[in-house]
Symmetry: C2
């Protein structure tokens, strides 16, 4: 239902997990080293934006996708990294349904466009993301 | 320089790395289990789209970002997962410069908009991504 807002999930990002992800996938100094990060735009050690995306995916799987008829997603329309994601932050998701419709080419498939916000424990988002997920429709047309 | 195209990088995605990423960040059956994946839209085991993003980031770090004056990125404009990314695929990057300009609010910062395509060994992309990266300008205005 467009306009519907849900909140769910709990994920605490440890410093070890932050640095391990960066070492494997995003080895820029400001994601690896406190001292280098202090002199960067991030102003201190902060997670790779791609780790924020991965954590949001995990929270979405646990929060609703795994138990749903999700068929996957063709892509993402927009990702905004709004502020640095620090080690020790406790994260959750605020999900808003933007649009829901039946696929024209595949009438057994529903397309739902979501706004996902990855929320920090101060109640403010660290990342926003919009994209469409495909679902198997519960009732055929 | 807008229009400039570069190709670089080599990354082979193993089945173990594919399943390990999915287990941690995207535990949907079609990213974890061959049999479940066969009956899905993906038609067989395929990587999480977020792992494709993470691999592209790693190839970009090694290919040019780590040695550049990169200051980070505010977000991503669009991600398209074009076809399933299978275990054993050898990946590389095709990068196209779409736009390059000086920041109006921060004249010591350059903003470069890129199209990144994550290429499989058959010469076709598995993912495309557009976004802007901030760089420290080499020459002050």
């Amino acid at each position: 239902m467009p306009g519907e807002v849900s909140s769910y999930g709990a994920y605490e990002l440890s410093r070890d997990a932050l640095v391990a992800f960066a070492a494997e996938y995003d080895p820029q100094p400001f994601h690896l080293d406190e001292e280098a990060a202090r002199d960067s735009l991030l102003g201190g050690l902060a997670a790779s934006g791609w780790q924020a995306c991965a954590i949001l995916m995990r929270l979405n799987c646990d929060g609703f996708l795994t138990a749903s008829t999700s068929l996957g997603a063709p892509g993402i329309d927009e990702v905004r990294w709004l502020r640095p994601l620090r080690p020790g932050t406790r994260l959750s998701v605020r999900r808003t349904v933007l649009e829901a419709r039946r696929s024209k080419s595949r009438p057994d498939t529903g397309l739902v466009k979501f706004l996902f916000e990855l929320m920090a424990d101060d109640g403010q988002p660290v990342m926003s993301q919009t994209g469409t997920i495909m679902f198997g429709a519960r009732t055929p047309t």
